[in-house]
Every structure is written in C-alpha cells, then in structure tokens.
C-alpha cells in the first residue's frame, strides 16, 4: 500500500482577472475557482496507482478558504482526505515560500509518504517551479513532466519526453513527480461521489501556527522575489502605422525590427553585405 500526496491548486476560471494595483496581486476572490488542470492529471495518476497497488491519497491545497472546493472535488474523484492550508500570512507567496509551506504541511500530515504528485504547472502563474522546489524542501528525488508512472521493485519507473529526449527513469522511494497534461486524463467526479464528499468528507484546515511556520519564510514578506510592476502587454503596444509602397514599408520593417525577426527565426538578417564583400576578396 502506497502513501500518496497530491498537491492541488485552485486557479481562477477566467483569464481576464481583476488586478489589484495596491496589493499587486490578483483579486482571486472575484473569480470563479476551479482545479488547476495539470493538478487534475496528477490526481488521476495517483488514483490509478492506488487502484493498482492499493494506497491512501491525501489531497493538499493552499489558498483562501474557498479553495476548500477543490478538496471536495478531489475527494469526489477518489482522494481519501483533504488538507486545506489557509492563513492570511501565507498569501502572495512566491514559489520559494509556497514550497516551504507545502513541505511543512506534508511533513506534519503525511511524514511517511511514498510519492508526492503535483501538476507540472499552474494555468495562472505557469512557473513550474513549486514541484522541483518542494522536492528540495522534502529532500527527496524529483522528476518533472512525467507522462507515466509504474511501481517496480520498490522504486518508481517513470517515463517522460523532454527537450526532445524520451527518457525512462528509475526513482527511489520516497520521491516527487510533476505530471504533464498529456496523459492521465482526469475522470469526472460521479454525482454519488460528490454527494458523499459533501456529506462526510474528511477535510482538515490548518493555519500558519498549526504548521509552526517561520513567518520570515512565508507569504509576501517571506518571498525572495518582489513584483514591482504589472501591466497588460497589449496596453503597452505602440501600434505603429506604416504606409506607402510595398518596398518602402518592407525597408522600414527591417530597419526597425530586423533584430526581432532575426531572433525569432534564428537566422542572421543584417550582416550579409559585409560578408559578401569578405567572400569576394
């Protein structure tokens, strides 16, 4: 029987999120929340491992009180219990602060875990950093972008395709994986599952004091990175208008943007005149 921990994040469902210029954070409370898609794949992977080998699944999330919703959903899908980490002092943390907080919770709630599963990234911040940093905090081996997990001879056998390499990896227990969205398509929670999840679900709520968190390591204040400015990239667009003959416009495009085009296509677009001369010497 394997002890599995799945880290789940509730993300806003809309992509047009209200931004609070005073706190420099997203007004998450104004948006409808949903389970981050990749986290759903991580949970599905855990459910399939449990089905094959037996196991116990703890779903952990961190966020405002409403994030409890994703724990009900996880339990309806088949997780055994949920843990919600919620505290104002945890809010606004970067990946360093978040991974510290999650690691403390896992050490307290499931210290003898065999495998921690995370989604490979979240749809709101897309850093893909929390999983690897959580592995460091827990001092366990970790592997990102995993597409298949098997248990073999007391170790995990993992498959992934990264940087154009197909890799088969063996990872000692306990360990951590982040799961891609290519495989382990999440199941829909059954109506029955949802009803029983709400009727008698085992969800524990913990705050910073319960976890005895170091205040210097959590939330905005405990984050090494500071967001100093946020803006909409489309608002920053200059919308340069060009007109005239095709030849004139094309010259103008290259005069202004040859570097940008060259960078994107990975070809040199500027120096050919000099080189041609050098060649004919």
């Amino acid at each position: 029987m394997l002890k599995l921990v799945v880290c789940i994040k509730q993300v806003p469902m809309v992509s047009e999120l209200p931004w609070d210029p005073n706190t420099r954070t997203l007004k998450r409370n104004l948006a409808e929340g949903m389970m981050n898609p990749a986290c759903g794949h991580a949970l599905e992977a855990a459910l399939q491992i449990k089905k094959q080998h037996g196991g116990h699944i703890v779903a952990i999330t961190m966020g405002p009180p409403m994030a409890e919703e994703v724990l009900y959903e996880a339990i309806a899908m088949g997780a055994d219990r949920g843990v919600l980490l919620t505290d104002r002092s945890m809010a606004g943390g970067d990946t360093s602060a978040t991974s510290y907080t999650l690691a403390r919770a896992i050490k307290k709630e499931c210290p003898d875990f065999d495998l921690v599963l995370c989604g490979c990234y979240t749809s709101d911040s897309e850093t893909a950093q929390v999983g690897p940093q959580l592995a460091e905090e827990l001092d366990v081996p970790g592997a990102a972008y995993i597409e298949h997990i098997a248990v073999k001879d007391g170790a995990f056998r993992l498959h992934r395709v990264t940087d154009n390499f197909l890799e088969v990896l063996e990872m000692d227990m306990p360990g951590l994986v982040t799961v891609t969205t290519h495989t382990y398509m999440p199941r829909y929670p059954s109506l029955e599952g949802l009803q029983s999840a709400f009727a008698r679900s085992d969800i524990k709520i913990l705050n910073a004091r319960d976890l005895r968190l170091d205040p210097a390591k959590i939330g905005v204040n405990g984050s090494p990175t500071k967001i100093i400015n946020v803006y909409s990239p489309t608002a920053a667009k200059k919308n340069i208008v060009m007109q005239g003959t095709a030849k004139k416009v094309v010259d103008e495009i290259f005069a202004k943007f040859a570097d940008r085009i060259s960078g994107a296509i990975g070809k040199d677009l500027k120096t050919h005149y000099h080189d041609n001369k050098a060649c004919t010497k």
């Binding site: 690897p132 592995a135 990896l169 090494p224 990175t225 007109q243 202004k256």
Partner: protein, 330 residues
C-alpha cells in the same frame, strides 16, 4: 573577487545550446552596465568544444567541471554542483535557459541557495540601482510582471529560447578556463536514467511555432495564398488561416487559427488580409509581436497589431519574400 554574471551551459541538443549562446549575449550587455564579467558554467564530460564555443560567443571565463560521471545530465548532481560553485564564487546573477531541463534545474538551485527565481523571462534589464529587472509573462500571457530579487543573491532567472540574439561566433575572443575537480562527496543519484532515446524532431506545430504567418480572405485567391507558404518557410514558421479561407478550401482545416481551431503564441505573428473576427483574435492574443497587413486601417486586427501596415496583403507578402531572400545567407 570580480562581480560576475553566470550562464548555465545547457548543451544537450542543438536548441538548448542556442539558448545558452543567446544568454551569453544578453549577459554581456548586462555585465557592461554593472562592471561584471560573463562566466559560462559547463558540467559534463568531453566538453572542450563547448568551452571553446562559449568563449567565442562572449564568455570571459568558463568554469568547467568535467568527469565521466557527468556524461549524462543528472538533475541531482548538477543542482548540488551549481549550488556549491555559486557559494564559492558568489555570482551576482545566474541565467538559465528555459528548456525542460533548465526549468527543473533552476528552481532546485535557487531553493538550495535560498534565493529567488523568475520563470520564463521575456526581458532582462539592469535598474539604476544595479538590480536585475526580470520581465516575465504572467497569468497565461495576459499580464506582464516586472520582478526584482532585491536582497537575496544570486538573482536568478530562466529565459525562453529566441528572446535574445546571440553574438556572432568570434574566434579572436579570449577567455579564462577554470577547471574544478569533481567533489568526492557528491550524493548518490536517487533518480537514475535507465534508457533514453533522441526523438526525431517533431513537425513544428502551429501552437509551438515561433513565427506564424496567418492569412485571410484579403490574400485574394487560393493561388496568391500559397505565397504565404514560401514566406513561412523563409521565416522558419508555420502557416495559419482564418475560417473563411479554410471554408474556401485554400488550406486544410488543420491550419485554422481560432476558437474552433488552434490558439497560437508565436514570438512574431504576420497577419495578412485578416479583418479580425473575435473567434480569430481571441486565439492570437498571446502573440508577442504582431505585424498586420490590411487595406483597411480600421480593421480590428490592425488595431491590435504592434505594426499595422496599410497595404495590399498580397503585394506586401511578395515584397517581404524578396527582401528576406536577399538578406538570408544560404
């Protein structure tokens, strides 16, 4: 000790190595502003060709740890080595390419050093106070955030491929090579590579393409639309299309960019003869830079473009093809 900006040498495949070279170029610009030296850190085995290449691309120093046991990329060994080297040499900044490997290595190194890290930067600048301003997309590309690591060192960032332009190879450049022996007390790998296979380069999909050339009805005809393929080929990009063009049979349904088709996020989108129905524009909002061509300056697509060219799409396409052929050396 000299202040230094480090670039992690990611060289496992051609594309990873290109990012390394691009970062060396950017590091040179940043270093000039704070009086630092640029240093490439190369871990591996039989890597002399890369050491020479990085010097020719602007590394003033190359720190090398070469050992048979580093022949294959090892996340755990590399993370420990990067941490220890950074503790010994205390670089101001570490830049790492946002490859799959780099995006996993960087957070581990940052955590071990207790410092901050910004993912997937699209811009890097020095502030007046000599801090690294890390510019990164946030919220699925809908917002851009400027991030500092004011107190912790090193300041760390991963950077996507193709954002910066590499310095041309220059064999007359010199660099110091510092060889560090492999520490004897490295931890045993708890994650082991059992087998690996180089994947054939997959066909570039529209979603992954760095350059997309999209055409609409304004191209004029099926025959004229075909010019876009020639342009896309010159730009190492892919061709996308709007709904009416797909209906008209000028291109396969597969190329549909829009609500019922594909969402794209290229570094440059060329948009030819597209007025900009919402079903199409919603699928291209993540494009970093848009050059739109249309006879109608008031078309929606023209309003959301970085560069709006008021012209006949078909004629401008021909002129672009001609100019690119002139400029690209073969």
């Amino acid at each position: 000790m000299n202040r230094s900006i480090w670039v992690f040498a990611d060289y496992r495949n051609y594309f990873q190595n290109r990012v390394t070279l691009q970062l060396l170029a950017k590091a040179n610009q940043l270093a000039a502003q704070i009086g630092a030296e640029v240093c490439a850190v190369v871990l591996g085995y039989k890597i002399d060709e890369y050491v020479a290449e990085y010097i020719a691309h602007g590394a003033q120093k190359v720190v090398v740890v070469e050992h048979r046991s580093l022949q294959k990329y090892s996340m755990e060994k590399y993370a420990v080595l990067m941490e220890r080297l950074a503790r010994d040499y205390q670089p101001e900044i570490i830049l790492i390419g946002a490859t799959a490997f780099g995006r996993e290595l960087a957070p581990r190194v940052a955590k071990r050093l207790g410092t901050g890290l910004t993912a997937d930067c699209i811009g890097l600048e020095m502030t007046e106070d000599g801090l690294l301003r890390q510019i990164a997309p946030s919220f699925g590309g809908n917002l851009v955030a400027e991030i500092l690591t004011p107190e912790h060192r090193p300041q760390m960032a991963t950077v996507r491929a193709g954002i910066f332009q590499e310095i041309p190879h220059n064999n007359s450049l010199h660099g110091e090579v510092v060889r560090i022996p492999l520490p004897k007390d490295l931890p045993k790998d708890r994650l082991r590579l059992i087998a690996y296979q180089r994947q054939p380069q997959r066909d570039q999909r529209l979603e992954d393409a760095r350059v997309v050339v999209c055409g609409g009805r304004g191209m004029g005809s099926k025959k004229k639309f075909k010019k876009l393929f020639e342009l896309a080929q010159l730009l190492a990009g892919e061709v996308g299309a709007t709904r009416p063009v797909v209906y008209a049979g000028w291109i396969d349904n597969d190329a549909l960019v829009g609500q019922a088709g594909r969402n794209i996020r290229p570094q440059i989108l060329f948009s030819f003869g597209i007025s900009g129905a919402i079903q199409h524009t919603a699928a291209v909002t993540d494009a970093e830079f848009i050059i739109a061509v249309n006879k109608n300056p008031n078309a929606t697509m023209m309003k959301m473009a970085d560069v709006a060219v008021v012209a006949d799409a078909n004629q401008l396409c021909s002129a672009l093809i001609k100019e690119l052929k002139d400029r690209i050396q073969t």
